[in-house]
Amino acid sequence: MNLSYTPRSHAKASVPYTRKSTPMQWLLIALAVGFAILFLLLPLLNVFAQAFASGWAPYWKAITDKDTGSAIRLTFIVAAISVPLNVIFGLAASWAIAKFNFPGKALLLTFIDLPFSVSPVVAGLLFVLLFGANGLLGDWLTAHHIKIIFALPGIVLATIFVTFPYVARELIPIMQAQGAEQEEAALTLGANGWQTFWRVTVPSVKWGLLYGIILCNARAMGEFGAVEVVSGHIAGQTDTLPLRVDKLYNEFDPVAPFAVATLLAFLALATLCVKLFLEWKSRDEA
């Protein structure tokens, strides 16, 4: 099961239906646009409206708060560790799966998809059961003074788990479609393995790779359930931005949770812009 989606190829996208418009057609368009505005655009706009409901000062106070600052820092640190690791994994997995044949490939692909179908809170629980004080490795970790749960390593592990398939999922179909002929040609012409990989393979999948990275990053920075279970909610220490929103919300502050949420909404807007750019770029090149 794939709970992400691949960038649509616009190369073959059909020209919209140009048969004469009918009242039925306009009714359907109005319904679709109305639904999208009420249900998709309004919630996004509402984040900003509520954040600035009492003006600029409370907004500024909320996002420059010390605990919010450390939440921003933690969110970036977690993404900066988990996204590159999943990129390396994605490149390795797609190289092995798309360019080689081996027994058990179908099973491996199913396993790669697994994190998409596990509830994020269950993902968090898995790490608590493994590394928590009562976990399987709990005694050993305590004896060696290693703290994973309620600390940065646990948050990073849970984030890697929930964002695990994003990059691999984007790259595998693209590399499979391209086959291995170009790489073989490069090798024949005397390039070594690394040169072939960096100069032939990576450039040919670059838009798909970037697309996977921004999706992976958006999920890594925005993940709530899995991180909440392993974080322990220590303000200023293990609160990421989404957890900070939750904490402020539970304090019944009318502005602050929305103010912090705008930072995540900006992340969403940036992700959407990059996605549009990538679709436009890959259509351009097709």
């Binding site: 709970l3 919209p16 998709l40 059961l129 291995a180 969403a268």
Partner: protein
């Protein structure tokens, strides 16, 4: 389409492959997968095996747990149905009609995918509350969208919508228009063409989109935490699991987690079959 890799041996030079790095990349892939995904899942299974089955069964099936599954399944089902209807409408309008702002509408579809679920829950709860932009009209009419079961359905619909649209959209784009034109030239009306030619071809794909958004809804937690208001009436299974964990009831949390895992593996299995079936309809 989503969920389909070619796994059979390829023909041509790929089979006896001179490329380097096969063993090391495969080794790293299996190692990373084992550490990040398989080992933690094994931890759950090992822990569960050490618990008494009767205790697990009692905790997995007590009244509170059954009510949570019921709401999880019911609300996810309703949300997925709404998404199947409106997702199909959106995909249809985006692919078949030309109108100003079509690109903007297309971009809006991804909002639930890009917006962190905590933010989605926060803003939806506010939108449907008494003083919210929508709630100020709806609450006087008796429609309470915040801190109710309706709110749970609203949030689950929001997070699942892109799956329904984006599953159907590429299939619609590549649909062979010739068959529809043939039906029309044989005298079928537009409605008749749609009902007897277009809709049956698209049905498996719509069902796949329905399944994907259902699966997404079943595991959802972040948005629900905000919009459900932590009430017994609005408790879904993932919320129950976290509530038990917060009280250090590990056995209770494991029991719910196992049930959720069974649900998701059953869905994974069903969806893989469904996507295989759907892809048959996409071949001209």
């Amino acid at each position: 389409m989503a969920g389909h890799f070619e796994t059979g041996p390829r023909e041509g030079p790929g089979v006896s492959n001179p490329l380097p790095g096969g063993k090391i990349t495969l080794g790293f892939t299996v190692f990373y997968l084992s550490v990040i995904v398989l080992l933690p899942i094994a931890a759950l299974v090992i822990r569960a095996c050490h618990l008494s089955w009767s205790e697990l069964w009692t905790l997995a099936t007590n009244e509170r747990a059954l009510a949570a599954y019921e709401l999880s399944l019911g609300a996810s089902l309703i949300a997925a149905l709404i998404n199947a209807v409106f997702g199909s409408l959106l995909a249809w309008v985006l692919v078949r009609y030309k109108f100003p702002g079509r690109r903007w509408l297309d971009a809006l579809i991804d909002i639930p995918f890009a917006l962190p679920t905590a933010v989605a829950g926060l803003t939806l709860a506010n939108l449907f509350s008494e003083h919210g932009w929508l709630g100020q009209f709806l609450v006087p009419m008796g429609v309470h969208g915040a801190f109710t079961r309706l709110g749970v359905v609203i949030a689950l619909t929001f997070v699942g919508l892109p799956f329904a649209v984006r599953t159907l959209q590429p299939v619609l784009e590549h649909l062979d228009r010739g068959v529809e034109e043939a039906a029309a030239s044989l005298g079928a009306s537009r409605t008749r063409t749609f009902v007897s030619v277009t809709a049956p071809t698209l049905f498996p794909t719509i069902l796949t989109g329905f399944g994907l958004s259902f699966a997404r809804a079943l595991g959802e937690y972040g948005s629900i935490k905000f919009i459900s208001g932590n009430l017994p009436r609005t408790e879904i299974a993932p919320v129950l699991m976290v509530a038990r964990l917060d009280q250090y009831d590990y056995t209770g949390a494991i029991a719910v987690a196992l049930v959720l895992m069974v649900f998701s593996f059953a869905l994974l299995f069903a969806l893989n079959g469904l996507q295989g079936w759907a892809s048959k309809f996409q071949q001209p």
